[in-house]
């Protein structure tokens, strides 16, 4: 015969006393504890304690008059109605009040100069915060963000068989088309998601550049290239292999160096490297070239 374990039934006994068991569960429990004096004593203890608590609270309830409670609450409603709280004013300023509350609050506001002053203070504080936030955003240099994104894309391209431009003494990079490039990239990836994200980033960078095709300057791969800028030209002192370079704008950017990479022989990617990254790069670093910033993403 299976031994009865009182502790095992403890939680079930409480659930039964609390009316949380189904009829069949209750029958099963009653059958189980019928033969156990300790379990039955626990049921009695729970009943007894619950009854004591209820008696204690009921005694207090019976000893106080509730006749005046409503009049106290009503007076409280009227007193509080006379003065809008800061929370109500805040909700009004934030456009969170609706219906009856909005109408009542507006009426009370009209009758309360002090509430109007407090509302003005709340609104003024909001304006100050917004203007400060706006000033911070306006004064923030987002170039480092762009550099990080650009570098990440370049690393991905290299990792998937792309190349950065090298001096002409290095082997000619394999020329394959865009479609082949994309197929190869997708086929070789462990993560389709990463592929999609990379492709999207590359597209974001390249499409605006390619769209400015009318302004492009093409050169033969083997010639000494020059990058023509809107305000002059710069001749590549290291005889880099540059096929197509589109320059949107020239930004003076002391402290940074620029690496020009060609992707696939057709679509150039312009990298902007910080000075501290220079030693880590395998790509060619052009020491005197001002920064070339592709269109922001």
């Amino acid at each position: 015969m299976k031994r009865h374990d009182c502790n095992k039934w403890e939680a079930t006994i409480e659930a039964m006393m609390d009316g949380e068991l189904t009829a069949s569960e209750r029958v099963q429990l009653e059958r189980e504890i019928a033969q156990c004096d300790q379990c039955r004593a626990r049921v009695d203890a729970l009943q007894e304690m619950g009854a004591l608590v209820r008696l204690h609270i009921q005694t207090a309830v019976d000893s106080v008059p509730f006749d005046s409670l409503w009049s106290r609450i009503e007076a409280g409603i009227e007193t509080q109605a006379a003065e809008l709280t800061d929370l109500q004013l805040q909700a009004l300023a934030d456009g969170e009040l609706k219906g009856r509350t909005l109408i009542e609050t507006t009426e009370r506001l009209a009758a309360s100069p002090s509430a109007r002053r407090r509302l003005e203070a709340i609104a003024e504080m909001g304006d100050l915060v917004r203007s400060y936030d706006s000033a911070v955003v306006d004064s923030t240099d987002f170039n480092p963000l762009w550099q990080r994104l650009d570098r990440a894309v370049g690393d991905e391209i290299e990792a998937r068989g792309g190349f950065r431009l090298a001096p002409t003494s290095q082997p000619e990079p394999r020329r394959i088309g865009w479609f082949d490039r994309i197929l190869a990239a997708i086929g070789g990836y462990r993560s389709i998601l990463l592929s999609a994200a990379t492709a999207a980033l590359v597209a974001l960078i390249l499409v605006p550049i390619l769209n400015r095709g009318g302004d492009s300057h093409s050169q033969d791969p083997g010639s000494a290239p020059a990058i023509t800028q809107g305000d002059g030209s710069w001749t590549n002192p290291q005889q880099l292999e540059i096929r197509v370079v589109h320059v949107n704008e020239v930004v003076s950017n002391p402290g940074h160096q620029v690496t020009v990479d060609s992707y696939d022989g057709y679509a150039p990617v312009i990298y902007i490297r910080s000075e501290e990254d220079r030693q880590e790069e395998n790509g060619t670093v052009i020491p005197t070239m001002p920064g070339f910033y592709p269109d922001p993403i």
């Binding site: 502790n7 300790q38 203890a45 608590v53 609450i73």
Partner: protein, 197 residues
Amino acid sequence: MEDSDLNLVKRVKNGDKEAFRILVERYQKKVFSIAYGMVHNREDAMDLTQDAFLKAYHNLEQFEGSSSFYTWLYRIAINVSIDMIRRSGKHVLVDYDDRLLRDTEHAEGGLMPSTLGVDPQRTYGRKELLEQIDRALADLSPIHKEAILLREVEGLSYQEMAEVMGVSKGTVMSRLHHARRNLQARLLTYVEQKDAP
């Protein structure tokens, strides 16, 4: 036919203060019971009852009817009570970790078989009993008081308690169990002290 809570709430939202009076009269004793069980003083409990209804009135727009009006009201009553306890500094509002308590309590055995069972022959007067239960309740942490009151006094189901307390049903069961054990242990302590020569 008696108006439902939700219908009365709707009327109050449309500016019918009389509907709020009906809600007050319907729940004033329930709210007072919670407040008294939390703070153990009639005057304070009555003030808290008034505060709870005033807060309910001014925040009624936030009550969307997804839960029962009374579970929403009980939550307000408990919050104002806990605020008063906090201000008075009489209790440290420690959120007991029931998982930690469980180990020690199992080591001591299960729920004790009888609340006042140390001496079955001992008889207690009504006043004495009420004093003991008052002291025992007062010693409980606020979250254990809350569990005992919502179940034993208000008769809420575990699901309703979970809504009021903002926890899962499993946590309700755990808190209730430990609240009962703590309450019983305190009652026994007082009985033993009383019976000591």
